[in-house]
């Protein structure tokens, strides 16, 4: 299998806390891979370590065949990685349109993608001139996702997209992620196991800063013991 991203045994410290103590994540090209685990397991930190926002002290992050650990975050992201952070991080002082434009990596990215964005998120079209903060939580999530693919990214790191959304909205968000996965590889952090199991083909479970199990999502759905042990779900 061809891996677009290969995280090898990374150790990350935040301050003096040894948060990640050996995480391995392999992401097959074109797939949706879910990072699963309880609250505080280290899923967000794993995404941030990939991007160099919390640089790993040990281990390797190999993206499209090149080692990127230790590079500046903006250099890593420029290689074609989009990021939807946990709490959306919409820029308050920017309008919705500016929130999209700022993600351009090549001039004109936004104009090229605009119709596609409005097809996926018809709501954003009429909100385009409003300041980022005036959006509802769901709309902010849409905007954050849209922002992650304004530039031509090959890999999207999406952190808890369903958090705080109503069930109907979650459904439409899932179809958006499916649509995006046609062109990009997606790493998805998702607490809602149902959502994760319907979207992802592969999974990695993280437990107390270590990756403890990986495989194909179909197998996990039948592995009631693992689900119970690591995810606390029935």
């Amino acid at each position: 299998m061809e891996y677009i991203l290969d995280v090898q045994n990374i150790h990350t410290f935040i301050g003096q806390y040894h948060i990640l103590q050996g995480v391995n994540v392999r992401v097959p090209k074109g797939s949706i891979t879910a990072l699963l685990g309880r609250n505080g397991a280290g899923k967000t930190t794993t995404l941030k370590s990939i991007l160099g926002l919390t640089p790993p002290r040990e281990g390797k992050v190999i993206y499209e065949g090149k080692e990127v650990q230790g590079m500046h975050s903006f250099d890593i992201a420029s290689k074609g990685i989009g990021f939807v952070p946990e709490h959306r991080a919409i820029f308050r002082d920017l309008t919705v349109e500016e929130n999209l434009k700022i993600a351009e990596r090549v001039k004109g990215d936004y104009l090229r993608k605009r119709d596609f964005i409005f097809d996926l998120f018809p709501d954003l079209k009429r909100l385009i001139t409003l300041p980022g903060t005036s959006l509802s939580g769901g709309q902010q999530q849409m905007l954050a996702i849209a922002r992650s693919f304004v530039a031509d990214n090959h890999l999207l790191l999406i952190d808890e997209p369903s958090e705080g959304l109503a069930p109907v909205i979650i459904e439409s968000m899932m179809s958006v992620i499916r649509e995006l996965s046609k062109d990009s590889t997606i790493v998805l952090v998702e607490q809602n196991f149902l959502v994760a199991s319907r979207l992802a083909e592969y999974y990695v479970i993280i437990e107390e800063g270590r990756s403890v199990q990986e495989g194909s999502m179909k197998d996990l759905a039948n592995d009631k013991a693992a689900i119970h042990r690591y995810l606390g779900a029935a």
Partner: protein, 515 residues
């Protein structure tokens, strides 16, 4: 609109009270006094704004409290003065400056070099220091021997005070031409380039933990080449360039002085950020101490180069006309004679101090506003003020933006300095009081809010000037016969009082956002 009213009730009430106070203040004095005081307040506010806005841009985006900002304001004034009063010194300085900077223009090349060098761990620690030491040694050998025609602070007849005084009265004190005697010219020129490259390489080794694949192109060498060419041209054409500058009208020379001071400030700021501040982003306390130290060093440098005594800076001819119909009563008269003062409601208004400076203040206010709102750089700055990490995660080189913003902020302070010089004069202390004003203005307006910086600065300027005016004419306390005359120490106290009151009502300042 309704929600705007509801959300900002406190702000609107505060602004209404302040406006009411100013209207009340107008009742106690003659109309002409009121207008002049208002204009003076706006002028002080404009200069304060130039310092405050730069400081707040830097703080907002970089989280750096640049305590050297007032000193950089002062340095801007002294640099501008040098260009204006001693163009020959300025031209002499161009060559060595371009050479000293040339090494830093190769910043992109050093990491490439560094990856080629394989060294033991201890050598890796020592190497940067060794390089910097070598560079400092070469510099300290060449620079004192490099001939620059300059004033003499020890000798009153040749001091900045005298040069300034003569220039103000319209004559130019002849200055000796500097020639290479203590060191051969080629040796000096080549030595400076080498020392600069060695020093810049050494500094770059401090923050090069990251491994990265590089491709060098001619672009990485372009700035270096341009600086070398500039150095060579200014070296060869030194005398003719000096002759051109001294022959210029004082208006053009002033314009050049303003541009040079602003650009030097911006360049100095960019250099400070990329060499001294950058390694300390993870240690904010050290950063604070660093900027405090830079401030003290800056003042000492100014003292040793330009001396301690205060001196005036002549105004450009455009604002310095006298005689004839001056003070002018209408625009046509003023335009024809370039009167230094005009009559407004029977009061004498100094054109440079009270009209030109506020106009520039407004122009800068609008330009920076446009930069922030209409350009991609501005968009990145606004976003970065809120969430640097996310901006970086979008693939934007935040470091470069940091350097640019630091340069922009210091450039604005330097612009403030050179603009203030003809009205305030030059002194070693001019930065301190203005910096304090700027801090108070920011506390009042909202620490990282751009319109807030403008509002706070204008309020500080107005309050101070009105208190000064009332110190002269006295306030009649209602229902009594007492006439209260605020004493000079009340001037700074009044702005502090305003700040305290506003912070009690609105803890984030007038326009600051709640976190």
């Amino acid at each position: 609109m309704n929600t705007f009213l509801r959300k900002n009730t406190v702000l609107l009430i505060t602004l209404a009270v302040i406006t009411a106070l100013f209207i009340a203040a107008a009742q106690g004095m003659e109309k002409k006094d009121f207008v002049i005081t208002l204009l003076r307040g706006l002028a002080v506010g404009s200069i304060t704004f130039l310092v405050a806005s730069g400081f707040s841009l830097i703080f907002g985006l970089l989280d750096v409290l640049n305590l050297a900002h007032g000193t950089l304001f002062m340095i801007g004034a002294y640099i501008g003065w040098t260009v204006f009063v001693r163009p020959d010194t300025f031209v002499d300085l161009l060559t060595p400056l371009a050479l000293i900077l040339s090494g830093f223009a190769l910043a992109d090349v050093y990491p490439f070099l560094a990856t080629r060098i394989r060294l033991g761990l201890s050598m890796k620690r020592i190497l940067p220091w060794a390089l910097i030491l070598v560079s400092v040694l070469i510099f300290s050998f060449i620079l004192p021997r490099y001939p620059i025609s300059i004033w003499d602070v020890e000798n009153y007849g040749q001091s900045p005070v005298t040069y300034s005084f003569m220039a103000d009265s319209g004559t130019r004190l002849p200055a000796p031409v500097a020639v290479f005697t203590e060191i051969a010219a080629p040796l000096a020129l080549i030595g400076l380039v080498l020392a600069s490259m060695i020093g810049a390489f050494g500094l770059s080794l401090f923050n090069s933990e990251t491994q990265q694949q590089f491709k060098l192109t001619w672009k990485n060498f372009a700035a270096f080449a341009i600086l070398l060419i500039v150095a060579l041209l200014t070296f060869i054409f030194n005398e003719s360039l000096t002759a051109v500058l001294t022959g210029l009208s004082s208006n053009w020379l002033f314009l050049i002085a303003v541009v040079v001071a602003t650009l030097s400030g911006a360049g100095l700021g960019a250099l400070i950020e990329s060499t001294l501040i950058r390694p300390l982003y993870i240690r904010p306390i050290y950063q604070l101490m660093l900027t405090l130290g830079m401030s003290a060093i800056g003042i000492e440098i100014v003292r040793s180069v330009w001396g301690r005594p205060e001196f005036v800076m002549p105004k450009p001819a455009f604002f310095n006309g006298t005689g004839g119909v001056c003070p002018a009563t209408n625009f046509a008269d003023w335009w024809a004679n370039n009167c230094s003062t005009i009559l407004l409601l029977d009061g004498r208004v100094r054109v440079y101090n009270e009209i030109f400076i506020p106009i520039i203040g407004v122009i800068v206010l609008i330009s920076i506003w446009m930069l922030l709102q209409r350009t991609r750089l501005g968009m990145v700055i606004r976003a970065g003020v809120q969430d640097r990490e996310m901006v970086e995660a979008l693939g934007i080189n935040v470091r470069r933006v940091f350097t640019m913003v630091f340069g922009l902020g210091v450039g604005l302070a330097a612009l403030g300095g050179i603009l203030a010089a003809p009205s305030m004069g030059l002194s070693n202390a001019m930065g301190e009081s203005l910096f304090l004003n700027a801090l108070i203005a920011l506390a009042i307006g909202g620490l990282t809010n751009y319109p807030g910086a403008a509002l706070g600065s204008v309020l500080v300027g107005l309050i101070q000037q009105f208190i000064i005016k009332y110190g002269q004419i006295g306030i009649a306390i209602p229902f009594t016969d007492i006439i209260f005359k605020p004493t000079p120490p009340l001037v700074p106290a009044s702005t502090v009082l305003l700040m305290v009151i506003i912070l009690l009502i609105l803890p984030n300042g007038l326009l600051g956002k709640k976190e």
